[in-house]
Assembly symmetry: C2
Homo-oligomer: 412 residues x 2
């Protein structure tokens, strides 16, 4: 077969300029989150197929890259169904492997456990511009802490990290699934219809308030329910006013929890924190607080998360409160690339050009000089001097090597 030069469909080679930004972001993430006591962990990229298909992954379970069984020769003629050939797949997120990791290692982990994960995940999505089948996720999760300190820490860590990346004036929107449920209940929507009402409300960004109302009617809610629910959603960013409007439907614990988080985070940095009763977050596994970070000028969000107290227990059989925040790593890298962001460079960039035929002693002196500069933090490129030195220096300048030193066989 011919050698293929392009990456496999939907995946990409990362070029030096993007790589520099990615490495910078990863470094900053690790450094910042570490000061909050988050511990980096890593799970294998390959996960049991039965775990990947355990109905916790939603739509992602349809997008799994499946891996052929190893160990014996592939018995194609005897295989009756896919399960005869496949026993593992590539992870589609970092949350499911974290649940397995926690179940496997809880005995040797601190409680609460503050986990930091950065790594690639794979989804066989339809290839489209700016969306790749291998991409990085970057998650922080606090397992085993039911208190609002968890949410507060997650929000402070994430906003602090975004500020260090040069983002300012961004907005953290916050809500609680229990507020959403109270809104639905106050509008006369019973438990069985609530998830549908939230799914529709979640489309507000795309279809607008009239679109939401129309869809709510279309899926079968009464005019009265729709008006009441949409009215509460349009209530604005005043949490105490929402509490009044919800009356006895309000979950007091949720309200106090949310108030405490908002007061603790308020004014902690150069960002706005707003209660947003229209914030839903797609994943059905959230049980309490939910939050999302938006940056002006860029649609959608750059980070999001929430509390999912039920999920770990469903995997492990042991109830474990959990709360997580995921930054949109690829999104942030794309924004920084588009902004022409350049990570701050420590030291300078120098190129040493060495004429061919230099004797070993002089060459040794050149390398010693390079080593000394490197020890002081500079980037030093040692290269053979080309015949077309002018062209070579132009190329070096394009890579940021403006400081060029030339070494000749006979000193000039």
């Amino acid at each position: 077969m011919a050698f293929a030069r392009k990456p496999v469909t939907g995946m990409k080679d990362i070029l030096p300029r993007e790589m520099e930004i990615r490495d910078y972001c990863i470094g900053l993430v690790k450094q910042t989150y570490k000061t909050f006591g988050f511990t980096p962990v890593e799970t294998p990229c390959v996960e049991h197929i039965e775990n990947l298909q355990s109905k916790q992954g939603g739509e992602n379970e349809k997008l799994i890259f499946k891996i052929l069984k190893r160990g014996e020769k592939l018995r194609l003629e005897e295989a009756k169904e896919e399960a005869d050939l496949v026993d593992s797949g590539l992870r589609y997120d970092l949350t499911l492997p974290l649940a397995r990791y926690y179940a496997n290692n809880a005995g040797s982990l601190p409680k609460p456990f503050k986990a930091l994960q950065i790594g690639p995940v794979w989804r066989a999505d339809r290839p489209q511009r700016g969306r790749f089948r291998q991409f990085y996720q970057c998650d922080i999760d606090i397992l085993g802490d039911p208190s609002p300190l968890a949410e507060t820490e997650l929000i402070l860590a994430t906003t602090g990290m975004l500020a260090k990346l040069g983002f300012s004036g961004f907005t953290v929107r916050i809500n609680d699934r229990r507020i959403l449920k109270a809104m639905a209940a106050a509008a006369g929507i019973g438990a069985e219809g609530q998830e549908q009402a939230f799914i529709t409300l979640d489309k507000l960004d795309k279809i607008g308030p009239d679109g939401v109302k129309a869809e709510l009617l279309e899926v079968g809610f009464t005019q009265e329910q729709v008006d009441a629910f949409a009215g509460l959603a349009a209530c604005g960013n005043d949490l105490p006013a929402m509490a009044d409007a919800l009356g006895e439907n309000l979950d007091r614990a949720a309200y106090e929890n949310l108030t405490q988080i908002m007061q603790a985070v308020d004014g902690a940095g150069d960002f706005a924190l707003v209660f947003d009763p229209t914030l839903v977050r797609g994943m059905g596994y959230y049980t309490g607080t939910i939050f999302e970070v938006g940056v002006e000028g860029f649609p959608g969000s750059v980070a999001g998360g929430g509390r999912y107290d039920g999920m770990i227990g469903r995997f492990t059989g042991q109830e474990t409160p959990a709360c997580g925040f995921s930054i949109g790593f690829e999104r942030i890298v794309t924004i920084l690339l588009e902004q022409g962001f350049t990570p701050p460079a420590a030291g300078g960039k120098k190129a040493f050009l060495v004429e061919k035929g230099m004797d070993a002693d002089r060459l040794k002196a050149v390398f010693a000089e390079a080593q000394a500069e490197r020890g002081a933090g500079a980037v030093v490129l040692v290269s053979v001097m080309n015949k077309n030195k002018k062209f070579q220096k132009e190329q070096l300048a394009a890579e940021g090597y403006l400081d060029v030193k030339e070494f000749y066989v006979r000193p000039l």
Copy 2:
């Protein structure tokens, strides 16, 4: 199906203590290699199956984790052979994807191109202690530089990095495939038998000099050939003496090249550099200089590499001189773990324990104090105070949080 808690066969969860060492090593590798002008690059973990099976990967091609085709429903009943089901697999090394990357992107990369890659690779080896089916490789490669500056830079970068990790008194052994060929030729071994002679010589560590002689005889070399070849191999570490012994079989260019590298590197750090005529390196693709780093007290090597001028061209159709050095990342992490290595910590580790029921204003002050400490580089863990505070503090101490500050609802 039941939820599986253990990782898939042969792979492992990385616990916090190991992760701390891994992150530290990766940081040091990136930081050190960057000062030499190496540019980080990344390729997808998933590679075309035809590239993986293009006969450059040797034995590794038998160990590929193969991925089922995506896009249409699996047509098991129509599949006649594996190729009907599989179009990609997980990469088993970083060199092959680098060749594809270079073929795909050479137009937008500097020349020579100094690439740094760190990332996971997968091999379905028989599971055994200390050997995993997912492991990290860490490679630096210089593509497009035929001069001995490339080897010199690679050796300086790698030894400098090992020294920063606390290794000292290690040994860099160096040889050249062209010296090995001259040794074989001088012993009367023709081109067709040379690779076999090298494979046997490569077992010297395991079977000793008598074992090597016995195997050389066994595979069909004459007593005279074996005595001459083994005699040259036992010649010792004196390169000029070897040159004399080889006489007209010596490749002068190889000799001068090797001399220049050795002189440039000699004395550049706290390690011994020795010419070793018994150094072979397993991979048949090497064409010139080869080198390996050993650490006293640990069998085998912690890093190795060499020049492989033919390989990239075979993939890309365009001749490209290439030279690379790979550090045994997992090996080094294991050694550091066994040595009880702890990465130097910046700032201190502090735990803030907060009594339950604190009002928002006081809580906000606690978080503000934590943020100030974090800004100054400390790690600060904010946790709810447990009922059993003594036990909690013991646990915190075990994690390195010896400095514990307590915050009460009513100040004491």
